[in-house]
Every structure is written in structure tokens, then in C-alpha cells.
Amino acid sequence: MTTITTPTIRAPRTRAPVRTRPSRSAAFRTLARRRFSLSAHTPREILVPLLTPILFADVIAPALAKTIPATAGIDYQSFLAVGTIALLVPLSCVLGGIGIIVDRHSGAQRDLLAAPTPRTMMVLGNLAVAVAVSMLQVVALVGASVARGATFDTAVSGWVWATGAVLGIAVLMHGLAEILAARMEKQEEYVGAAPPVALLPWFFAGSFFAITAMPWWLTWFARFLPLTHALALMRYGLVDPHGHGLHDIWGMSDPTVMAMLSLAVVAVSAVAVLALATRVFTRSAIG
């Protein structure tokens, strides 16, 4: 039995609208602020991530530098400080993905999905905080390294290359974190899967040594990793003006050309993974 009728409904009162559709930039700012509030709403949450880079710079790097004074003419402590960036940024970005799972299970993610903003903004808002935290860690690491005697080039162009590389690798690793978080149901699964994703490339990317120190087939494998390119770029900008690391990848003689090529590799990888992450998030978040 199906009876379909429409009873008389009381006439609605008119009201002044209090809202407009928010702009993308306003939505992005709001979502980034939210993620920042969630990730760093106590001083402890801001300070603890800085502890690892400072300990690396102040304890491990100087100790290793006593054993190996220099590599490719570069002071090993400075060489290693840059190598540590390639550990910290991926680890920080990938572990940040746990927050995405928390958001889905016990946070406000569903309310955000019902908000009148493009859902891409949720990924970009999270990304902004991942990049900001990464940059903060890099600054802490560089500061602590300098305090212990490491030396870095001060040319602006060098810092631009290094910043581009950090930015690229942060975007790429955050994209991987979004994909991983979308694919994993539980935090426990994520915690198990995150370290290999964050750490595995670091072993081959030439963090503690030149990639040519590995067997030839591993050297070839390393050349395909965006992290290898990012690391060589950072060193080119900060400690290796002759571009030894870039030469190990490209075998060319012009460091600027090699740097541009490596930056392109990092940028294209980052954009591709971010685009994929956005698609995976959007598809997995809605039924």
C-alpha cells in the first residue's frame, strides 16, 4: 500500500541570508588553520617534532663527522645535516597521515565533506600544514647544525634551490600519506605501513654517502628516486656548489642545467602524486 499525498505546509517566513559561498582561498585558509590547530594546539606538539632534528644535528652528525672528515670535498657534518633533511621531511609528512585517519574516524571530516567548498581544499589544507612543519624542522636542523660547526652557503640562489627541493619532497610525501591514509582503514595498519614508505627511499638516495658508493645497479635505482634528486639539489644549494651529487645522477658538466633537471623531476613527481592523492581522497571519502 503506498499512499502519496502532500499536506498543506505552513508558509515560510523570509529571512536575510547570512552567508555567501566561500571563496576557494578562504576555504583553504580555514582548512589549513584547522589542521594546524589539530596538529599543534599545545606547545608540546610544536616542540616535540623539533627534538629529532636537533638531536640529529647535535649528537649524531658531529659524532659521525669525527669518523669521516669529508666526502667529495664537503665537510661531512654539513653533508650529513642535509642528508638528515631527507629523513626528517618524509618521516614527518608520512606520520602526519595518521591525523587524516583520526579525522575520518573520530573527527569532523564528514562535516567538512558536506561543506560548500571543493574537497580538494581539504587535501591542500592538510598539505599546507605538512609543508609548514617540514620547513620548521629544516630551519631547526640547520640552526642546530650551524651551532655545532656545520657550514652552509649563504647565497640566496642556493637557498632557493634547497627550498624548492624541500617543498617538492614535502608535497610528494604528503601526497603519499594521503593515498596511504585513504587506503588504510585503521591507524594500526597505517603505523605499520608508514615507516617503509617514509624510510625506504632514504636508504638509497645518498643521505649518508654519495650514490656512486653503492653497487652500480643500486646507483641506477637511486637515480629514479625523486628523493635522490631532492637531496642532490639541497646539497647543491647549501654545501656542494660544484654539484657532485647532481653529476652522480646526470653525468653532465653544467650544475645549473642538472639542478633544473632534478628540480623538474621533483616537481613533476610531487604534482603527479598530489593529483593522484586528491583523486584517491575524493573517491574514497564519498560513497
Partner: protein
């Protein structure tokens, strides 16, 4: 937006809406309905009936497989952001940032729904006082009780003064006192705020109390859609439940032979549910006196939406 049957424009229009999930589960099977502006519309049904999937499609968090739906004049597939701008949702589970304060949750929602920045503080204060959250709102939400959290979510949903408010099982899991308190709040919205409300529930008293019309869903389809009173009227003024010492279907056949029952009577196990129309309890018991059936238990009561649902589907609403 098309004008509704009463001259009022429809806030929601749904035509042949369908959702089949991956793996072939057909959650919603081509449903159609309109909800007029200012109406409180109930989607009623047990768990798995397709209510939440329907709400999901209307709030654009579930993609329809086929059909069409408009919310506030915006197609949920063609203009999902427009549909979301016109609406707000209170979800079945707690959907809040627990490590943030209530005020921060409200502010974030207000910004995302496009409230003018200079109006946010006043608007937040307004809903905070209306929902009695003043003492809580600067505390972390993690410290709230279930009822307090639900009040916060309801307050949040009203910040943007949405044209359409979706309430997905808003009182589920709450203790009876808080549940009734919230029902009062929702009922109060009808008189103080002009908005269309779509409410899903499997609590029949909520639907009877709050809704102008209800659509009863069963197995992904709408099996009845009307005012609660009209649906109940079909069952008469009184329902008699008889438990006998034999299969109740035999008693049903016995009473049918004597024209003492109608199509709305149904038998489950040894219990016969008998809506009375044009006959009295006395007529039924007089007939039983001359039969071989022994009445183990009997009761009489006004019909409920549960009876309507049982009549339509053969199953009970409340899980």
C-alpha cells in the same frame, strides 16, 4: 525551483534516485519524493532500509547511481557545492574535532559555510546561548557528554541558517532524558526558524511528534508516504493484539470468514494484530467464544507507525 503542490517551492526534489554500491548491493531502489519549503519530513525505517544512503546522496557524500535530486534548487550531481551551501547536516555519530573547543568547532564551520567574518562572533554567541552551551563552549569537546556534543552539533548546523537541515538519526544512542530534551529543541526549530528539515529515525514517537509527513522506507524503497495521522487512520482507531494457542494465521482466516477483519490485519507466529474498523472488541471476542481457539493474552491500544510498517512490510521498525 519548481513550485510545489501547495504553491510553495520545493526545497528538495527527488526523482527515481538510485544507489547501487560496488559489489552490487542495491541500497536505494529508485525513490521519488518532494519536500516543500518549511516542511519537516521524516524518513522512517529500520537499519539497512536506505535512509542514511538517501541522506548521503542529498548531502553529496554518496554519489547516486541513477536518478536526480535537487536540494535548494541545486542538482546534487551537477552543482554539489550549491546543494551543500543550501544545507547542513547533523550526523548519526559524533562528527566534531574533539581536541578543539566547542567555539573553535563552531567558528570553523561558520567560515566554511561562508558567513561574513564580521558576523561570525555574534552568530556563534547567538547559537551558543540558544542551545545553552555558554558554560561549555570554551572547553575541549572531548570533555563533553554525549548530549552536550549533540547539542553542539545541532547548534553548529544552524550557524549558517541553512535552507535545508538534515538530521540523520539525531537522538540515537542518547539516554531518554537527553533524547527528549533534544526533541524539544528540534521541535522548537519549527516555531522559531524557517527551514526545511529532513529527519531520519527508527524511533516512531520522534516521527509522529516532529514530522509533517513521513516516508516509510523498506529495503531501499519507499513503501508509504503521508502524514503520520493519515497513515495511522488507515488502521482505524484501535488495534487488538491476540495471542492464541495456535498459529495466528488460522485465527486470521477464521475471523475473515466472519467479516470481522480487514486487509490490514496480520499474523506473526501465534499473535494476531487486528486493526478494528466497523467492528468492536466485543464482536471479536463473541466470535472467539464459539471457536476452538484459546486466547493466551490480549491487549488493545491505539495504532502506531510500527503497526503501519508491520502492515506494509511484515517486519517491525524498531530494531
Amino acid at each position: 525551483m519548481d513550485p510545489g503542490r501547495n504553491g510553495a517551492a520545493s526545497a528538495i526534489e527527488v526523482a527515481e534516485l538510485r544507489k547501487t554500491y560496488r559489489g552490487g548491493v542495491e541500497a536505494v531502489k529508485g525513490i521519488s519524493f518532494d519536500v516543500a519549503r518549511g516542511e519537516v519530513f521524516g524518513l522512517l525505517g529500520p537499519n539497512g532500509a536506505g535512509k542514511s544512503t538517501t541522506i548521503g546522496m542529498l548531502t553529496t557524500t554518496v554519489t547516486p547511481t541513477a536518478g536526480r535530486a535537487q536540494v535548494g534548487g541545486c542538482d546534487v550531481v551537477g552543482d554539489p557545492i550549491g546543494a551543500r551551501a543550501a544545507s547542513a547536516v547533523v550526523f548519526q555519530d559524533a562528527v566534531v574535532d574533539r581536541s578543539l573547543t566547542g567555539r573553535r568547532n563552531l567558528q570553523l564551520h561558520a567560515r566554511l559555510w561562508g558567513l561574513a567574518p564580521d558576523r561570525i562572533a555574534a552568530r556563534v554567541d547567538d547559537v551558543v546561548s540558544r542551545f545553552g552551551l555558554a558554560d561549555l563552549v570554551d572547553r575541549e569537546v572531548a570533555t563533553y557528554s554525549g548530549g552536550q556534543r549533540r547539542r553542539l552539533e545541532l547548534a553548529r548546523s544552524l550557524l549558517s541558517e541553512p535552507s535545508v537541515l538534515f538530521l540523520d538519526e539525531p537522538t540515537v544512542g542518547l539516554d531518554p532524558r537527553i533524547r527528549h530534551e533534544l526533541l524539544d529543541v528540534i521541535a522548537g526549530l519549527r516555531t522559531t526558524v524557517d527551514m526545511t528539515i529532513v529527519l531520519t529515525t527508527h524511533y516512531l514517537d520522534e516521527a509522529e511528534r516532529l514530522c509533517d509527513r513521513v516516508a516509510i522506507m523498506h529495503d531501499g524503497a519507499i513503501v508509504a508516504l503521508d502524514r503520520p495521522r493519515s497513515l495511522l487512520t488507515a488502521l482505524g482507531d484501535e488495534i487488538v493484539e491476540l495471542t492464541v494457542d495456535a498459529p495466528a494465521s488460522l485465527l486470521l482466516a477464521f475471523l475473515r470468514e466472519r467479516s470481522l477483519t480487514n486487509d490490514h490485519a496480520f499474523a506473526i507466529g501465534n499473535t494476531l494484530t487486528l486493526p478494528l474498523r466497523g467492528v468492536t472488541t466485543r464482536d471479536v471476542f463473541d466470535a472467539l467464544d464459539v471457536s476452538d481457539f484459546r486466547v493466551v493474552a490480549s491487549s488493545s491500544r491505539p495504532p502506531t507507525l510500527d503497526d503501519v510498517y508491520l502492515d506494509l512490510t511484515g517486519g517491525r521498525l524498531a530494531a
